[in-house]
Symmetry: C2
Subunit: 387 residues, 2 copies
C-alpha cells in the first residue's frame, strides 16, 4: 500500500505501451503504476513517476522490484516461469501465475492444454524432425503453418511452408533443442476474431464484446468492435469459450483469446492466447465503459469488475505503424490529423519511429461502421505516412 | 521539443489534480507533462515522470522550470502577473497570458472588464469603506454579497452580509490595502450553469455543451451535462457569451464561464471566470469525445481542437469530498462502490483525506438523467462516507 494515498501499489514488469496505458488507468484509480523498465526511453518510463530499471530475466532485479508491491503483473509474457515461481515462493502476489502464463509463453503447452480441455484448435503436432513435418503435412495437407513454440510475436516466429524442405530454407533446425517447433494445419478462415475476458482471484469474470481483428503481413492493423455481422449465437459461443478458458487455466487479469472464424461446424478455432492487456483491446479506452487497462488493474487487485459495454454502436481501432520518413515530423502530422478529424482519438506511445513498428493507435467511434472505419484508416494513414 | 519523441513539452505550474488529469491526457498525445509541484505528495507529482519542485511565487524557480518547455500553462490562477510578464519577456510562451489571466485572478478587474464588454453581470462596486458598502446595499437591497477580489476559491473569500456592520464581524477591514473588496447584488437565481470554451493562439474556438452545476456550502458537488431542460436559445446564448469572452479577453487554453440563470430578461449573469481545466468540466473525461484536459493541451499547443460532443444523453459528475473517518479506508470503499455500480467511473487525486477536501470525483453516463444522477450521488457518497 502507498501510505501517502492509502491505495495499493501495482508493479508491472516491462515498460512498453501496455504499461504506459495501464499507468493512465492507474492514475484514475488513485494509484501510480510501478514499472520495471529496461531503459529511460521505454514508453512507460517516459511518463510514470515510479520506475525501476532492470531486465525481466534478472531474478534479483525482479525481487527488488516486487518489494512493496501489493501485486505484480506483466506488460509482456517474457518473464521466465522459474522466476515467477521463485517470487511466488517469496510470498509475492503475481498475476497471472506461472502455470497460467505458461500457456501464453509456449505455444506447444498452450495447444496441449487446449486439446486436453476440448477447446477447438487446428490439428497440430510437435515437430522434432523434417520427417515428422513431412508426415504431418501428408496428413493435413500443404501448406502447413510452422511456429516457434516460444518467443514469437506480431507474425515473427510463424512460417507458412509449402514443403518439408522449406524448413531448412527459413533457417530452422528441429534438432536444435533451443528451438521447439510445432506444426499446425492451415485452417480455411473466414476472418479473425478476438475476445477478452477479465478474471479476478475471487473468480469474477467480465467478458468484452467479440471483435474482428484485421491483419496485414502478420500484424494487426485494425480492430472492429463489435465484430460486424457476427451471429449472436457465435458471439456468445466465443465469449463462453473465453470465460471457460480463463477459469480452466486459472488466469487472473486479462485474457485475450485470438480466434479464427472458420466455415461450418462450431465456426471457431483458437489461434493464440495472451494474458495481459492486448492490442485487440485498445479500442476499449474510448469504446467500452471500462478500458482493458482499468479492468486489468481491477482484476489483479481483486476489485469487482467494471462494465464492459460499448459506448457507441461502432468502434474502430487502427494501429499506427512507423512509416518511411516522409520529412514531416510526428507533431506536424498530428496537426494535420486533428484538422481533418476532430473526433479521432490518438494514442502515441513515445517511441522512436522505425518502419513497421507500432508507434501508436487511433480510435474512432460512431453510428455507421463504414464511416467509422474509413475515418480510422485515414487517421492512421496520416500519422503513418503524413498524407 | 522532447528529442526522444519528437513531441512538444508542456509545462504546468502547480501539481494538483488538474495537472494530474492533464498528465493523463498528455500521455495519449505522446507527451509527458512537466509539472512544477510544491511537494512530492502533490497529486500530479505522485504520477508524473517530469516533476520539478518550487513555489509558483518564485520567479527563479519559474524561470528554471520554463527552460525547455514549448509552452507553459497553469493548474491554478495564483502565479503573480509580474512573473508571467517577466517570463514572457524572456521569450517563454505562456498561455493564458498575463492580461487574460488577470480577469481570473482579480474579481474587481473581471467585473470591470465584463462591464466594459457589455456582458451581463450583477450590479457591483468596489468597496473601500463600511459607508460605501452601506450606500451600495441601500441601492441594491440587502443582503449583499461581498467578495475578496483576490485569493478566494470554493466559497472562501465570499460572504453574504445582512448589514454593513457585519463586515467587521466576518473579520474584514476595507481599509486594509491587502484586502480589496467588491460588493455585488444578490441575484435571484434559478440555478447555476457553466460553459467551457477552448481557444487556440490561432483563434480557433471549441465550445462544450452548457452544464448545470449544483453547489452546497459554496462547493460544487454535482455537474449535470447537458444542463437539463435548458431552452436551446439560452444554451446558444451561453455558448456565444463564452466564445465572445474568450476572444475579447484573448484567452488561450480553456475558459470556464460560471453563470447564474436568473428569471426574465436575458436570463444569464456571469458569476466567475476560470482560465484552465475546471471542476465544471471533469465530466468531459468520459462524457465528451474530447476531455477538457486534452482540449487544454491542444489549445495551448495550437493544435486544432477536438470534438466537444457528448458521448451519452445524460452525464453526471459528482465530487468526492473527504468525509469524517468512518474506519473504512478508501481502498475498501472502492471495492464496495465497484461492487455496487460497475459503470461508475472513479477519479481519485491521490490526496490525503481531510473533511470537506475534494479528493476525487465520479462520473456516470446513461440515457436517463434521474437514474444517472442517483447513481453518481450514491457513488460519491460511498467514497465519501463508506455507506
Amino acid at each position: 500500500m502507498d501510505t501517502r494515498t492509502g491505495l495499493p501499489v501495482v508493479g508491472m514488469v516491462g515498460g512498453g505501451q501496455l504499461a504506459r496505458m495501464t499507468h493512465q488507468a492507474a492514475i484514475a484509480l488513485g494509484q501510480s503504476l510501478r514499472v520495471l523498465a529496461r531503459t529511460p526511453e521505454d514508453g512507460a518510463a517516459l511518463v510514470a513517476a515510479d520506475v525501476q530499471y532492470g531486465e525481466h530475466t534478472d531474478l534479483a532485479a525482479l525481487r527488488t522490484f516486487a518489494k512493496g508491491c501489493d501485486v505484480v503483473t506483466f506488460d509482456h509474457e517474457q518473464v521466465p516461469g522459474e522466476h515467477i515461481r521463485a517470487l511466488a515462493a517469496d510470498g509475492v502476489r503475481l498475476y497471472p501465475g506461472a502455470d497460467a502464463l505458461r500457456c501464453a509463453q509456449d505455444k506447444a503447452v498452450m495447444r496441449q492444454r487446449l486439446t486436453e480441455l476440448g477447446a477447438p484448435v487446428p490439428r497440430w503436432q510437435r515437430i522434432g524432425s523434417v520427417d515428422e513435418l513431412a508426415a504431418f503435412g501428408a496428413e493435413v495437407g500443404w501448406p502447413v503453418v510452422v511456429k516457434a513454440a516460444r518467443g514469437g510475436y506480431d507474425g515473427r516466429g510463424v512460417w507458412l511452408l509449402d514443403t518439408p524442405d522449406e524448413l531448412a530454407a527459413v533457417g530452422l533446425e528441429p534438432a536444435d533443442p533451443a528451438v521447439e517447433l510445432i506444426a499446425e494445419e492451415r485452417v480455411k478462415l473466414v476472418r479473425e476474431l478476438a475476445v477478452q475476458v477479465a478474471r479476478s482471484p475471487f473468480g469474477q469474470l467480465a467478458v468484452y464484446p467479440v471483435v474482428e481483428t484485421v491483419q496485414r503481413d502478420g500484424i494487426c492493423v485494425e480492430v472492429l468492435a463489435p465484430a460486424p455481422a457476427l451471429p449472436q449465437s457465435r458471439a456468445l459461443a466465443a465469449q463462453q469459450l473465453a470465460i471457460d478458458l480463463a477459469s480452466a487455466l486459472d488466469v487472473v487479469g486479462l485474457l485475450a483469446v485470438e480466434l479464427f472464424e472458420v466455415p461450418g461446424g462450431g465456426g471457431l478455432v483458437v489461434n493464440e492466447l495472451a494474458m495481459r492487456p492486448h492490442n485487440s483491446g485498445h479500442w476499449t479506452i474510448e469504446g467500452a465503459r471500462t478500458s482493458q487497462f482499468e479492468q486489468h488493474l481491477r482484476a489483479v487487485l481483486d476489485y469487482p469488475m467494471g462494465d464492459t459495454g460499448l459506448t457507441a454502436p461502432a468502434v474502430v481501432m487502427a494501429n499506427v505503424l512507423g512509416g518511411a520518413d516522409g520529412g514531416m515530423g510526428i507533431d506536424e502530422r498530428l496537426h494535420h490529423l486533428f484538422a481533418t478529424d476532430p473526433g479521432a482519438k490518438v494514442h502515441l506511445y513515445g517511441k522512436q519511429v522505425r518502419p513497421g513498428r507500432k508507434i501508436g493507435h487511433v480510435t474512432v467511434l460512431g453510428e455507421d461502421l463504414a464511416d467509422v472505419r474509413n475515418r480510422a484508416a485515414r487517421a492512421a494513414r496520416w500519422l503513418q505516412e503524413g498524407r
